[in-house]
Amino acid sequence: MVSYEKILTKNMDTPGYMGTLPEYRATGGYTAFEKALKMPPAEIIDIVKKSGLRGRGGAGFPTGVKWSFIPKTHVGQRYLCCNADESEPGTFKDRQLIERDPHQMLEGIGIASYAIGASVAYIYIRGEFDLGAKIIESAIQEAYQAKFFGKNLLGSGFNLEVILHRGAGAYICGEETALLESIEGKRGKPRTKPPFPAVHGLYQAPTVVNNVETLANVPYIINRGAEWYASIGTPKSPGTRIFSVSGHVKRPGNYEVPLGITLREMIYTCAGGIRNDKALKAIIPGGASAAFLTPAHLDTPMDFEAIAQIGSMLGSGGVTVMDEETCMVQAATNLLEFFYHESCGKCTPCREGSSWILQVLHRIERGTGRASDLDLLETLCRRIEGVTVCAFGDAEVAPVLSTLKHFKEEYVAHIEGRGCPFQPNVELVMAH
């Protein structure tokens, strides 16, 4: 197995390393922050732009460009928000970064806040991450005591308050404008864009929202340079990425690799191949919002462009693997139960559409589907995608449209055979 240089998951490979401040300092931690505070903010933004770093939360937007959208002439409060609301089915990388090496993220928050001129940073962590919240809270205290956070940091005149904000259970709060609504004490409903958060964000002030893994990359870019970072991965998708591999593989886990390795290498080399040496049937390459792929796509490089080109997306980096015995109708139904439950209810096509799609899928799975249902599903999906305030609408139709495209014969078999043709050794949808 080829071994790749790890960046974000390197420290935690050392036996006994638990990510306290003294441990992190011993690996060179916070030297990038010290260096950054002596640089003009515009230069930091320029370095991050040149590195090519792209958001690791799902959309893959260039991070330095996002930072540069903060209006330079704005006088008054600006905010940085760290998105630690990891909730995309199949994704569990931020949890590991938070629980095992939280200061990388905090140092990234320090540098990003300085670069955009934010004196307050909120870390929005999902409510269920109780252990993670305790670990971050304690790491924040350590950073205050070491004077990395607080007033006049390292004599630079820059002030920074870092505040942990806990959510309370809602997938949609990972959408950046819903996250802002949630911090403001409201239902987590996405805002209409534009205006974008960089102009009107938290409390209507200019705001940047970045994912945990994105921010954790920043200290390394400052210390080792944009050219070094850009030399890893592919020209348009530089750097490493932590892929979370789940489902029917021998070794599920988080694997940090350069962007651009193939799906085959990820599944068969990193994750050890399919459990019980069964055949592979389907792959979701980037979390529940990404379209299903098939074994025909195994040699596709895992970078933003190549995965988009074959009709899916790299999304949050959650790779879910399904073996030959998995029923694709059940898999799609399971995911639609998720989307139906998590739709915030703001946009009618998403709110009502997820319910209608789910009703049709349930009847197909239970053996009462109609021949006309496949066209009906397609029509429903086409009337949801692209017409909602946030990307959730596109996400909820992806599992349906992609399983219809790649596994239509399974839908037909359910309808014609009046039930699920698979031996239910693993049941993906519970009958109540």
């Binding site: 490979d13 990891e86 999902r126 004490g185 399971n334």
Partner: protein, 178 residues
């Protein structure tokens, strides 16, 4: 300030957070969490108290309380079990595990045992996809579950209120044993 059900300790825990935000409303999720911890669930009285403290209307509080899944609007048992049902967990046996819990406790989804020890709920993804099937119970995650581990876990919680099966800081695969 006259509060109906919340203690002065809860009031202090809530008002302590005001300084972190430009707006009291931003403390709402925290306040509801504190209220729920103290009174077991969010009764109308508890939500009115939160509204008083944050200078909101009761309906503004209710609107938010009904949006987030971690808030209970009805009484629940001492231990609330959230069994993950999302696809990655389902692929490794979450449905069968949930059935086992139902049988073991003699309750359906959303129900509470007659001794008020356990409430069973199903939930969506908890970022534990490579270590499923799993459940969250109160503040802890329990991963790589089997029926035998679930039995031990439920026995532990009934007997001692806690279990050493709870997950520790997370890293998978754990190749170095760190």
């Amino acid at each position: 300030m006259k509060l109906r059900v919340l203690s002065s300790a809860a009031e202090a825990a809530i008002t302590l957070e005001f300084e972190k935000y430009p707006d009291k409303r931003s403390v709402l999720l925290h306040a509801l969490r504190v209220a729920q911890q103290e009174t077991g669930y969010l009764s109308e009285e508890a939500m009115r108290d939160v509204a008083t403290l944050l200078e909101l209307t009761p309906v503004q509080v209710y609107d938010v309380a009904t949006f987030y899944t971690l808030f209970h609007l009805q009484p629940v048992g001492k231990h609330v079990i959230y069994a993950c049902k999302s696809l990655p967990c389902a692929l490794v046996g979450a449905s069968a595990l949930c059935r086992h819990i139902q049988n073991r406790l003699g309750v359906g989804i959303g129900e509470t045992t007659s001794d008020n020890q356990f409430t069973l709920k199903q939930t969506e993804c908890l970022a534990s996809c490579g270590s499923g099937p799993m459940v969250q119970i109160n503040d802890n995650y329990y991963e790589y579950l089997t029926p035998a581990k679930v039995d031990r876990l439920l026995d532990d919680l009934r007997a001692r209120g806690k279990s050493d099966l709870a997950s520790k800081p997370f890293k998978i695969p754990n190749v170095t044993g760190a």
